[in-house]
């Protein structure tokens, strides 16, 4: 008769990686908050600090990758264990890239410097809120691994927010390009602000990827990574 027994060493390895991933998520969310606070308030010193601290996010991501490789090598996992471990590596890289986009926004802040903003920022704060929400939701989904039905519903909600952010990004670009065409004085800062919107749009894509990856972990269907493409 088959007896249930845990795999202590593998389970501890998974727990350690999960804990590190949660810690990395907190660091990224903190950087997210501080990036936009420093941007709107023109706190250039804070922006410099965030750029400097991005290295810790990078190092954390590499630590998760190395730990995952170590556990795979040691435990030769299969099925859902293998899907989780490869996905931790994937998600840590996505978080690391999000850190890069935030550092990029801080660099833009330094370039704009103390010059007054050419815009009242209506759409970018909306994009910021959506991107942050998507990131939180996708990480929550990835951390909890709910049942398939709940996960697909949560993923659907995340994907729908991505559509919204794409739409806002297009609006920011169109508005600023129109204004820049009318006044060459706006071109430099206008281009920078388009980049801020672009980075937010890319952050939302990364959050989307995390949600898609969670669907893969849960269903085991690699096609489900791109569920909407599959249906076409």
């Amino acid at each position: 008769m088959a007896n249930y027994h845990g795999r202590k060493s593998l389970d501890l390895g998974l727990l350690e990686i999960e804990t590190k991933t949660n810690a990395l998520t907190l660091k990224v969310l903190e950087a997210f908050e501080e990036t936009f606070n420093s941007f709107y308030t023109k706190d250039l010193e804070k922006s410099k600090e965030i750029i400097k601290n991005d290295i810790f996010i990078n190092k954390f991501s590499i630590e998760i990758e190395n730990k995952s490789i170590e556990v795979i090598r040691r435990e030769t996992p299969l099925a859902s264990d293998m899907r989780k471990l490869t996905s931790y590596m994937f998600v840590s890289q996505e978080l690391e890239r999000i850190g890069d986009y935030l550092a990029g926004i801080c660099k833009i802040n330094l370039k704009i410097g103390k010059d007054p903003f050419i815009t009242k920022f209506e759409k970018i704060p909306k994009m910021e809120a959506i991107a942050k929400n998507m990131l939180k939701d996708s990480i929550k989904l990835f951390s909890n691994f709910p049942d398939q039905k709940k996960a697909l519903k949560a993923a659907k909600d995340i994907f729908s927010q991505d559509d919204e952010i794409d739409h806002l990004n297009s609006q920011v670009q169109n508005d600023l390009i129109k204004r820049m065409a009318r006044s060459s004085k706006l071109v430099e800062q206008g281009t920078y602000i388009i980049w801020v919107a672009h980075n937010l749009e890319r952050i939302s894509d990364r959050a989307n990827n995390i949600a898609e990856r969670t669907i893969y972990v849960i269903t085991g269907d690699s096609g489900a990574i791109f569920p909407y493409e599959l249906e076409e």
Partner: protein, 278 residues
């Protein structure tokens, strides 16, 4: 705003249903068990196994100790006939013929077997391989059969200059390949392997695994293994067996190897392949 992505994932929810998968029907299976029950004395050991084995593929039987893998594999070539208290119900078909109605010797050279521990005869390397053809009345081209079989078993280069030496002088890995050559000498259509590498070192194991992959272009192989990675490496399909509270073995899931080890449908298979039951 049109929300394409959300619409499409709705379809995904509707179309994706996960079900337990026990039966695969092949067009022309070389082996098939139908409603197979095996008893040892009064105890039911294996219950209602229905499985088809496709031609020229490698099928792994996996599952915890005592779940009936060896019992099942031994039914395929009537090895259970040699166990006095064993009783088999149901049918085993070999190319649609009921093996119970075939000559047992014919069954065993059509469906050869390699065991956990290498078991060469206490004879020369040559005699070990020539034994089967000679017993089957073949008198001509024995040298050629021995050479071809040893080549197929990837042993020829190592033994061609010492064919008259006693087989016991070979290493464990070489002895196991000799046993495979001995099986191949009677030109079987199926080879059953019951944990063929469990007594071998990693290099010998690797050579047997390569051999299994090479042979599968012309021979069907059913292998019992406890080594999950080995099953992943060598098999096309995997069947998971499990015994419940009453210690009666059942087939719980059968599927393509990537599905069984990547995304098993049955929770018990998932727990077994991830090492959480056994």
């Amino acid at each position: 705003m049109i929300n394409q992505k959300s619409k499409k994932i709705d379809k995904k929810i509707n179309t994706e249903t996960i079900t337990s998968s026990k039966i695969i029907n092949f067009e022309d299976p070389v082996l098939e068990s139908i409603n197979l029950n095996v008893y040892y004395g009064k105890s039911l050991a294996v219950k209602n196994v229905n499985i088809q084995v496709p031609k020229n593929k490698v099928i792994s039987l996996i599952g915890p100790s005592g779940c009936g893998k060896s019992t099942l594999i031994r039914c395929f070539n009537r090895m259970n006939d040699t166990i006095r208290i064993a009783r088999v119900e149901g049918q085993i078909l070999y190319n649609k013929k009921n093996v119970a109605e075939m000559d047992s010797a014919e069954v065993r050279y059509r469906i050869g077997m390699v065991f956990q521990k290498p078991n060469p005869f206490p004879k020369s390397i040559y005699e070990n391989v020539a034994f089967g053809p000679k017993v089957n009345g073949i008198k001509e081209n024995i040298d050629q059969i021995v050479e071809t079989s040893l080549k197929k078993a990837d042993l020829w280069k190592e033994v061609k200059d010492r064919l008259k030496e006693n087989a016991y002088g070979l290493s464990g890995g070489q002895q196991q390949r000799l046993c495979i050559a001995r099986t191949l000498a009677v030109n079987p259509e199926v080879i059953l392997m019951d944990e063929p590498c469990s007594a071998l070192d990693p290099i010998s194991t690797d050579r047997i695994e390569e051999l299994i992959k090479d042979l599968s272009s012309s021979v069907t192989i059913v292998i019992v293994t406890h080594n999950m990675q080995q099953a992943v490496r060598v098999s096309d399909y995997a069947a998971c067996m499990m015994a419940g509270e009453e210690r009666i073995g059942e087939l719980i899931e059968y599927g393509e190897v990537n599905q069984i080890f990547g995304n098993p449908k049955d929770k018990r298979t998932e727990e077994y392949v991830t090492g959480r039951i056994g």
